[in-house]
């Protein structure tokens, strides 16, 4: 069900505006109307959004520094402290810089390692004594022995096929050799090794400091993020405010659900704020707030994945929920898989957070449906219940569907959902535009349900031929009259006939395609069952005859095989009923969509939606 909304227009004196907005936010009942083409940007808003990204990034990085099995200190009323953010950012930057430095020192150490241990003062002494020292490397085979006499070349080390050497020459000697000149660093390999140890110690210390912040201050950063989000929301409201009378009067519009308006009005009556309340018009973009019973509410996130209904149409969630449940069970089609979902969801639900409970409740429903539909399609962990020779099962075999029956059942279920969808559409048109506008839709129902039903009963049941003839005439006549003549009672009947023909073409082609689409229920159900059967077969045939070992191999094959099958089948069982809902059912139910979710201006609450 879509909650009825009221439009509020406020005129507030500028000095009272901040207090007014604070109170409105505390109440959390008003969805603010966006001006023009959405919320305009401002530099301050952009800065806050960038700040939010900074906080998010820091929180994410801190998450990696929480040691395993360490409990984070959760402060109930943590205060937003921006200094913690700066401190953490500094620590993270220090850690990054140290890690970079470590890499570069490590490279330098590797480079200097070939020159061994030496004293830089000795090199300085040689220079002071008038010698020039140059360092070189070249391929061993290119080293010319003459260089030892020409340039006093001394080999320092040979690593692999490369020789490292130094020349000691007097000033003015021109060195000409086929070797690479090497620049000597400022420290020896040993000194660099010690520096690496120092850097590593600092990295460890910095990481420990970050871990400490992660354990103790994540709540503070969360509070900072919340505070920043609230500032962003506040800025958006201010940007959506119109100013009049030289910025002295602020004009704001918003939507409030009718069921909450008493609470809002109570505050407004006490305040000095001038306000007007009006009912929405067709031109308004009214936000959508759904209110359904406990069962249908579980399916709201699934419906929202496609689109929300617009304000004037029906919320289809309670109408598609039972079908989705049924189709999921049929597509997964294995009682054991359903049982597994059921048990896992029940166990997890015991200690689950409140935000997770709707998801687990949905899994309990879907698991239960799979248990039932899996039993009806005769599959348990890939084993066929129809072929099983179990005494107590015999009495249930009458309700079990083999692949042939499953094929036709899928199509019949499709026909049922499509006709149900057309009923919903007719009901929706009556509610929105009145009976006259719905006549054509009712006409199709007379033809599909009346004529089709009469045909089905006379073919597969026992219906007197004369009675059937009158029923055909009755339903067919009324149906054709409504579809071809009365589809728009204010229009020329001849145009109505043309419109009826066009409608007939669309209906005939549409219905055929839509019904055929439901064959996926059969295909997915049987696919999962057959894959389960094949994995069982593989497990039994490949496990051999060795006692114990065979059983272990068999269980491993079954575990892996059914694991893959559960993943693939569940994915299909989730997605394909969604397609049947949003394409076939929504189309026949006349869904228009385009609704925007009701998001009140309120204190920030973490979005813990599960889909």
């Amino acid at each position: 069900m879509i909650l009825k909304m009221k439009k509020y227009t406020f005129l507030v004196y500028h000095k009272q505006y901040t207090d007014f907005l604070e109170k409105i936010r505390e109440l959390g009942l008003l969805h603010i109307v966006e001006r023009g083409k959405g919320t305009p940007d401002s530099d301050a808003l952009m800065e806050k959004m960038q700040f939010a990204a900074r906080i998010k990034n820091v929180i994410k990085q801190l998450g990696m520094y929480v040691p395993k099995e360490t409990k984070i200190v959760e402060r109930v009323a943590a205060e937003a402290d921006v200094n913690i953010l700066y401190k953490t950012e500094t620590l993270l930057a220090e850690k990054d810089a140290l890690e970079l430095k470590y890499v570069s020192v490590e490279k330098e150490r590797e480079r200097m390692e070939v020159w061994g241990e030496f004293d830089f003062s000795r090199i300085e002494m040689l220079k002071n004594a008038g010698f020039e020292l140059n360092f070189y490397s070249c391929a061993l085979r290119n080293f010319n022995q003459e260089w030892e006499t020409l340039y006093n070349a001394f080999e320092i080390s040979t690593i692999g096929s490369t020789i490292y050497f130094v020349t000691v020459t007097l000033p003015g000697v021109k060195i000409e050799m086929d070797a690479d000149s090497v620049r000597l660093g400022d420290a020896t390999a040993l000194q660099l090794e010690n520096e690496l140890i120092e850097i590593q110690t600092k990295i460890t210390e910095t990481k420990n400091a970050i871990s400490q912040v992660a354990i103790e201050e994540i709540s503070t950063l969360d509070a900072l993020q919340v505070s920043n989000f609230e500032d962003i929301d506040y800025d958006k409201v201010v940007l959506n405010t119109e100013t009049h009378a030289d910025n002295r009067v602020m004009l704001l519009e918003g939507w409030c659900p009718e069921e909450s308006e008493v609470q809002l009005n109570e505050y407004l009556e006490q305040s000095d704020v001038y306000y007007e309340v009006s009912v929405p018009t067709e031109d308004d973009k009214i936000p959508i707030k759904l209110k359904n019973n406990k069962f249908a509410k579980l399916f709201e996130p699934i419906g929202e994945m496609y689109d929300l209904p617009n304000y004037y149409e029906l919320d289809l969630t309670p109408f598609f929920a039972p079908f989705y449940l049924l189709f999921f069970g049929l597509c997964l089609g294995d009682s054991a898989y359903g049982l597994l979902f059921l048990i896992i969801a029940i166990v997890l639900r015991i200690k689950a957070k409140p935000a997770m409970k709707p998801l687990l409740n949905l899994i309990i429903w879907l698991g239960s449906s799979t248990v039932v539909m899996g039993f009806i399609s005769g599959t348990f962990l890939g084993f066929s219940l129809i072929d099983a020779k179990i005494e107590w099962l015999e009495k249930f075999k009458g309700i079990m569907l083999d692949s042939n029956k499953l094929f036709y059942t899928s199509l019949i279920l499709g026909v049922i959902q499509i006709i149900y969808g057309i009923f919903v559409k007719a009901f929706g048109i009556v509610r929105r535009y009145g009976w006259a506008a719905s006549l054509s839709t009712w006409g199709w129902l007379f033809l599909l349900v009346g004529v089709g039903g009469t045909y089905a009963v006379s073919e597969y049941g026992s219906l007197n031929a004369d009675l059937a003839k009158y029923l055909y005439y009755g339903f067919g006549g009324i149906g054709l009259l409504l579809v071809f003549i009365l589809n728009d009672i204010k229009r020329n009947p001849l145009i109505n006939v043309g419109a009826g023909l066009w409608d007939t073409y669309n209906m005939a082609t549409g219905l055929l395609g839509d019904t055929l689409s439901y064959v996926r229920l059969f295909a997915l159900g049987i696919c999962g069952s057959v894959m389960g059967f094949v994995f069982n077969d593989l497990a039994f045939k490949m496990s051999g005859d060795t006692p114990v070992v065979s059983t272990i191999i068999m269980l491993v094959i079954m575990l892996i095989g059914h694991g893959i099958n559960i993943f693939m089948s569940t994915l299909g069982a989730f997605v394909h009923p969604m397609r049947l809902t949003f394409v076939e059912f929504y189309k026949n139910a006349g869904f228009e969509g385009g609704g925007k979710k009701f998001r009140p201006f309120a204190r920030y609450q973490k979005n813990e939606s599960f889909l």
Binding site: E304, M305, Y306, S403, N404, F407, L516, S517, V519, R520, F522, A523, L524, I526, C527, V530, M531, V534, F567, M568, L571, G572, V575, H576, M578, R579, F582, V583, L611
Partner: protein
């Protein structure tokens, strides 16, 4: 050539080409996921679900073989062999093309999610559009299997 050889040619095409289609489809989506993770690594769950979608056609090919398996006997008639071959060809063509195309739809969705758009649900709905034709082909295989004597 014997009838059973022709029938097995159909099975070869059916299982082989649907498998090839799925392999290409999931490779397209896998590559897209890796690309998207560079931009937004947080949505890996969404990428994985969308990446797995084109994998179903390969299973349909195998299911088709399973449905026709009982007819694959050395003494089968030419009519039965032609039916099995034709059924295999139908599913092979539909499975191959639909898996690749489904992979492309999913890859676009993955790129969209990576770029920060909330298109996971809508991509899932759109991605199963091409798969319908593999399903219809599978239903045809099932019905052909029922008619073979």
């Amino acid at each position: 050539m014997t009838p059973v050889f022709l029938a097995y040619m159909g099975i070869f095409l059916m299982v082989g080409l649907t498998g090839v289609g799925s392999a290409i489809g999931v490779t397209i989506t896998g590559n897209a996921s890796i690309g998207a993770m560079k931009k937004n690594a947080d949505a890996f769950g969404n990428y994985m679900v969308l990446s797995a979608l084109p994998g179903t056609q390969g299973l349909y090919g195998f299911l088709g073989y399973f449905l026709l398996q009982k007819h694959l006997i050395p003494e089968m008639t030419w009519a039965a062999a032609a039916a099995v071959f034709g059924a295999g060809l139908i599913l092979a063509a539909a499975g191959l093309v639909s898996a690749i195309r489904q992979g492309q739809v999913c890859a676009n969705g993955i790129a969209g999610i990576g770029a920060g758009y909330d298109v996971f649900g809508k991509t899932m709905i759109l991605a199963v559009f091409p798969e319908l034709y593999a399903i219809v082909a599978l239903a045809a295989v099932f019905m052909i299997g029922q008619t073979i004597i």
